[in-house]
């Protein structure tokens, strides 16, 4: 079990350290890279908890897709992040309040009796490695007890997606588009035109 504790402290220390570096690094790209490091370590913690499916989903969704686009945007944008930082003290009370709310909510999870048959958080100090596959367990709860909540969160994501598309969709005037079919159907008869050009006149 000592290896378990060593890896737990390793993952959690790096996760907390990199989370601190996210907000304290001067270079925004470094911030994003530390954010990714933090995600990866969090997924390591999930593996230690025996939640291997969640760990992999965290890496695939957040690290593999969301953070890539985030990094992409941060590299491209020319934002003066030093200027943004100036409002640090101004936003501090608000941020602290948000953090407090989050901590209270997470704490409440431990005392939630039942939404469904299954308790949300089981108090345990050892990894639960059940006989039944993790993925199956999640599926059995997600698509039965939490079906409506799951669908609602899906719809919220859909609304957000449509919203961002409508925000960026605009008429760009004349855009030259490639029509693959018409291009494939070209042959020598309709692609080339023969013209008799008179001397000194041109077309």
């Amino acid at each position: 079990m000592i290896l378990y504790s060593i890896s737990f402290y390793l993952f959690s220390t790096i996760a907390v350290f990199s989370a601190l570096m996210v907000i304290s690094a001067k270079n925004p790209v470094h911030s994003v890279l530390f954010l990714i490091l933090s995600f990866v370590n969090a997924s390591g913690l999930f593996v230690l908890l025996g939640a291997e499916f969640l760990a992999m989903i965290l890496v695939v969704v957040y690290v593999g897709a969301v953070a890539v686009l985030f990094l992409f945007v941060v590299m491209m944008l020319d934002i003066n992040f030093i200027k943004l930082r100036e409002g640090f003290l101004q936003y501090l009370p608000f941020g602290a309040l948000l953090g407090l709310v989050l901590i209270i909510e997470l704490g409440m999870l431990f005392y939630t009796e039942t939404y469904s048959e299954v308790r949300l958080v089981e108090f345990s100090n050892k990894p639960l490695i059940a006989e039944i596959e993790n993925t199956k367990m999640i599926g059995e709860i997600l698509y039965t007890d939490y079906f409506y909540l799951f669908q609602i969160s899906g719809i919220i994501l859909l609304v957000a997606m449509i919203g961002s598309i409508t925000l960026t969709l605009r008429d760009r005037g004349k855009v030259k588009r490639q029509d693959i079919n018409s291009q494939n159907n070209l042959d020598s008869k309709n692609a080339i035109e023969k013209k008799k050009v008179k001397l000194g006149e041109g077309i």
Binding site: F53, M56, V59, G64, V68, M75, Q178
Partner: protein, 338 residues
């Protein structure tokens, strides 16, 4: 006895783990060397040339000579670059291309770590591969690498989506995320036959995911010099080079496991099922790798908008449709794996 305890619970398991890692990584790296050689040889034969034929018998040692040459060169770090990230990028790329091998089952029971979410792990590792490229492009602080990095970020994220749907289709037929179970589910028929369109989509997406021709826009030498590794030299270049080929072999193994029955013989009849599983596995991987090289020699490079169109407008709807069709088929005929 503390000493005895330490010996039994740390040293021996630790040594076994290290030995297992070496037993996978060293053959992979040797395979990479010969893959580079065979790629040059096959390309040469397709283009009616002779290819490498000086170093060693039939030029077999050419890759080792190249590696030695590159490693003894000076490692130049551009003065405007972000040194730490610049040096970290090739290391990350190399580590990620080797990390995936931990879950690949070469034969029944012959796997370093037989985890329940094997295919998810492979998917996660291959989706992390983009970071090496982006970091290299950004840290070089020069325009061609940066353009290469931007291209690769968009390209790899786009093609991951269709790879994800293809994997879901296979999982619907298997009922497990464990790679060993995926192979065992193909006892009767390889998934390449009932799911042929998915097999083709997966292969093409694998080309895009490993930045191979005809989708090698991140390194596109005719427009971007060498893309994201323009500024790299010597050993850091070697790491990128090795990583590209190692992830090629990894993606081929993934294709073989998902669609071509892994270590299973093509027919379960006498002379074929005596051959050890690892031989079948290797032969299938070599076949897929040959396809990779064949495609490289045959097709011209895609233009960037065509690449995006193919990913989002052709593969994504088609693979989504196949997920629905496959699950509908399985439900109607009551073939869903329990």
């Amino acid at each position: 006895m503390l000493n005895q305890y330490f010996f039994d619970s740390f040293l021996i398991p630790g040594l076994i783990i290290i030995a297992q890692i070496l037993a996978v990584v060293v053959p992979v790296l040797i395979c990479v060397a010969f893959l580079v050689y065979s790629e040059r040889k096959v390309l040469a034969l397709i283009q009616l040339r002779r290819g490498p034929n000086i170093v060693g018998p039939f030029g077999l040692l050419q890759s080792f000579a190249d590696a030695l040459k590159l490693l003894t060169k000076e490692n130049i770090i551009p003065s405007g670059s972000n040194k730490f990230v610049f040096l970290l990028a090739p290391i990350i790329t190399m580590v990620l291309s080797l990390a995936g091998w931990a879950v690949i089952p070469f034969a029944p029971g012959l796997v370093v770590s037989d985890i329940n979410v094997g295919i998810m792990y492979l998917f996660a590792v291959s989706s992390l591969g983009v970071y090496g490229v982006i970091m290299a492009g950004w840290a070089s602080n020069s325009k061609y690498p940066f353009l290469g990095a931007l291209r690769s970020a968009a390209q790899m994220v786009s093609y991951e989506v269709s790879i994800g749907f293809v994997i879901i289709t296979v999982l619907l037929c298997v009922g497990s995320l464990n790679l060993t179970k995926i192979v065992e589910a193909q006892q009767t028929v390889w998934f390449a036959i009932p799911l042929l369109p998915m097999f083709v989509i997966f292969f093409i997406s694998a080309l895009a995911e490993t930045n191979r021709l005809p989708f090698d826009l991140p390194e596109d030498e005719s427009t971007l010099v060498a893309g994201f590794f323009t500024e790299y030299s010597s050993s850091s270049f070697v790491l990128f080079f090795l990583a590209e080929y190692a992830s090629m072999i990894l993606m081929s193994s993934m294709t073989v496991i998902l669609f071509m029955g892994g270590w299973l013989p093509p027919f379960d009849i006498y002379p074929l099922n005596v051959v050890p599983g690892i031989v079948w596995f290797t032969l299938k991987v070599i076949f897929i790798l040959f396809l990779f090289i064949w495609v490289r020699a045959t097709f011209p490079r895609y233009r960037y908008d065509q690449l995006m169109r193919l990913g989002w407008k052709v593969f994504l709807p088609f693979s989504l449709l196949w997920v629905v069709v496959t699950s509908g088929f399985l439900v109607i005929f009551d073939k869903l794996p329990s």
